[in-house]
């Protein structure tokens, strides 16, 4: 099985190289002698496809690409330090587009608008509108090339749900109900009880997006422009009300049905647990869908279903801070009375170029990202679990062949891609925070408070207060008016 995957990957890479040479007509040696230092996180996902394809790119253009990796929690600051101090040892980076605001404002990121407009090989029109029009842009200009499409979804074990006589979760109450029923059942045949729900909850990692995924449908019901983090009147946080309380209760309750050390598990750990058959449910990005078909690791191939993030039948009334029932006025986008608010958590790993790199290096760095994103490469990479890349091009959703070639059944591919498309096309999608220093709001204040709540250090009331006070303090330090203007701008208000 392993050799089959290698042959598939090798063939695809060779084909991709040939196609790219033909399509782009790139002259070999165009970047002879140019070295591009690209920084991203340790991975192995995300770094893996960059490292694997760098030699192919070098053969194609002559540019040598060094992929430098750092832990996820250090990436934001490492880039800032290198660029702000004028060291400029990093020529380009693959990072979270939500950090773009902090890199663009001081002038560290190269404006890629004209390069992308002139790049036919990139096939920018094939990139889904959300990534093309929102994720890649800041202030109307394009600063990044999308390499990955990120939405959080809920994964479930089809065989386990069938055995339990349950339907895939539509609401968070359904999620809890399934997790409770599945908890302790042997789901991988090893004679030991397994877990109802596996969600990464490790502090200082990538766990803090999960609570936003849960809270989203309670907080936002009137479309993407409404926003789910702050009140657009005065920038007061939406973290001290009945809706956020209910989200915290649900998040805390999922821990009861998770692995005993769940609060110390990173996403890689929960993914391994899920693909090794030990979890009935999980909340994650698109990665589980492709990892589940990896014959080297997965024991759940063709036993995994995916759905858009569960919703709720009660939503926040912003005037009173209370939960009110969904109706045509309160939940105009509800389906069967359930308000869904899929969360574009993170926004998808994207490549940006250092504005202060040498011109030739900038050109080579852009060419590398363009090469990585071109359908010939990316349409293969998104089907391989270890890349960490998830679908973001229209062609990746249309062609089922590539998914079936990768080992996914037609039904599973339709289910997986359907869940992502349901998220992408939802008019009530929750956009991730993109105001200046958003990392402080999410990765420091939110992450710390949630971690303390899970550790039993804070009650739910104290958690809400800690987040609200912390966000208000950050807003006042940076400037309430400017933050409000930035927030409204990201929502298109």
């Amino acid at each position: 099985m392993k050799s089959r995957l290698s042959i598939l990957t090798g063939t695809a890479a060779g084909l991709a190289l040939a196609l790219t040479l033909g399509a782009r007509g790139a002259s070999a040696g165009e970047f002879d002698g140019v070295t591009v230092n690209v920084m991203t996180f340790t991975g192995p996902q995300i770094a893996e496809p960059l490292q694997r394809r760098a030699p192919d790119f070098e053969k194609l253009t002559g540019a040598k690409v060094n992929v430098i990796t750092v832990p996820f929690s250090d990436l934001y600051q490492k880039l800032l330090t290198d660029w702000a101090s004028g060291t400029n040892s990093i020529d380009a980076a693959v990072f979270a587009p939500q950090w773009m605001v902090d890199y663009v404002t001081p002038g560290y990121l190269e404006d890629l608008t004209s390069r992308i407009a002139a790049d036919k090989d990139l096939q920018e029109d094939d990139v889904a509108p959300f990534f093309r029009d929102f994720s890649q842009k800041f202030g109307g200009k394009i600063y990044t090339v999308t390499l990955d499409g990120d939405f959080q979804m809920v994964y479930y074990r089809t065989d386990v749900l069938q055995k339990l006589g349950k339907q895939p979760p539509k609401t968070w109450d359904d999620y809890i109900d399934i997790a409770k029923a599945a908890q302790g059942q042997d789901m991988n045949g090893d004679g030991k009880g397994d877990y109802g729900s596996c969600i990464s909850k490790k502090r200082n990692a990538q766990a803090y997006w999960a609570i936003i995924s849960i809270a989203g449908s309670f907080l936002q019901s009137k479309g993407t422009k409404e926003g789910s983090f702050f009140d657009t009147k005065d920038m007061s946080p939406l973290t001290s009300n009945e809706a956020f309380r209910r989200a915290l209760e649900i998040y805390q309750e999922t821990t009861k049905y998770g692995p005993p050390d769940e609060i110390n598990l990173d996403v890689g750990d929960t993914r391994k647990l899920f693909t090794s058959g030990q979890c009935a449910l999980s909340l994650d990005w698109g990665d589980i869908g492709t990892l589940a078909i990896d014959p080297t690791e997965s024991k759940v191939n063709d036993k995994v279903g995916a759905v858009v993030i569960p919703g709720t039948t009660k939503v926040l009334d912003r005037a009173s801070g209370k939960l009110v029932a969904c109706d045509a006025n309160t939940c105009p986008y509800a389906v069967d009375g359930v308000n869904h608010a899929p969360f574009a958590a993170f926004g998808g790993w994207s490549g940006g170029v250092n504005a202060h790199a040498q011109d030739k290096v900038k050109a080579a760095a852009y060419a590398f990202f363009s090469y990585m994103s071109q359908p010939a490469q990316s349409n293969v990479d998104v089907t391989i679990g270890k890349t960490g890349f998830n679908p973001y091009r229209i062609s990746q959703f249309k062609g089922l062949d590539q998914w079936e070639k990768a080992g996914m059944s037609e039904a599973a591919a339709k289910n997986y891609l359907g869940a992502i498309q349901d998220s992408l096309n939802n008019p009530n999608m929750v956009l991730d925070l993109r105001i200046p220093q958003n990392q402080k709001y999410e990765q420091v204040v939110l992450d710390t408070a949630i971690a303390r709540m899970l550790a039993g250090e804070l009650s739910i009331d104290d958690t809400m207060k800690a987040i609200t006070d912390g966000w208000n303090e950050a807003t006042d330090e940076i400037g309430r008016d400017s933050q409000l203007a930035a927030y409204k701008a990201t929502l298109g208000q």
Binding site: P106, D261, T448, A451, G470
Partner: protein, 367 residues
Amino acid sequence: MGRPLSEWIDRQADRLFILPAVVAILAFSIFPLLVSAYLAVSRFQLTAGGYQIRYIGWLNFKKILTGSEQFHFLGTFAPIPWFAWILPLLALLFVGRGLRLYLTTGRVTVLGAIGRAISAALIVALATLIAATCGPHGGLGTVSVTLMYVVIGVSFQFLLGLGLAMLCAQRIRGRGFFRVVFMIPLMVTPVGVAYTFRMMADMTQGPLSPLWRLLGLGDLTWASQGWSARLVVMVGDAWQWIPFIFIVLLAAIEGQSREQVEAASLDGAGFWRIFRDITWPEIAPVAATVVLIRVIEAFKIIDLPNILTNGGPGIATESLTLHSFIYWRTLDLGGSAAVAYSLLFISTVFSVSFFNFVVQPVRSARK
């Protein structure tokens, strides 16, 4: 004319020779210290075209001492449980004894007295801080957690290191082999130690998981509980640093007068008697110094809590250095510098206190 010049050069020679070292220290040590001092009273902000560093006075310190980050730095205060009163009482006894010894030396100076008064006040205050935050309704901040790593961790390391050194000082078979084995963790980089320990402490999927299951510890979730997580961090730290204490104490033990030990032995003195009356007085100055070095190092612990638990659960295992690092990596350079300067103050006063109240009396007693 030639002679005065050469004489002047001769007179300046010592200064000229030391100048490169002074310049290097200024450039690499004092300069960053001054810049970080400025950062501690400033706010760093990205602006169009670059960044701005704005003076904000003591706000960064106010935030961690009395503001929104007090829980993180000092902890969450709660009524002191009855058993925790022992900490301030022990601290009072310790500093009281130290001050009494100092006052009876006959070498009391104004500066020395002020310094010791500051030390005494800080030690009692820190002990009270731990007592006021360790109760069931409280929460330890990074100051208290770091002090635990220093006081409990280093004490444990010292006792085990001393024990191992005493054992390896005996004429037993294979002691050369054990000396090398005990030294190995010291050679490993701290990050390597942390990752190795993280694997070993993984109860469910780590290489030692069959052993943990055999011992009935397979379901132990140490990372979910604050106290067990802190214990694992301290055990990991001990694993790395016991060899350092061991090797220094072994050298001190082997350097003691053999004649005295043999004579005492011939006179019928037992192991503990020999240790108490001959070995300990001999090695006490070295022991005090090695503990001082470890105390200074232990204040800077970061690798183990960062890699083992990322400072969690909650903030249960977060040290002051990790606290500062987390601020730094999220662009709060002022907050990071404020925590770092607080750490510098606490560790300096603590180390000087240890020197004044422990090392110096031990040395004086030996003379």
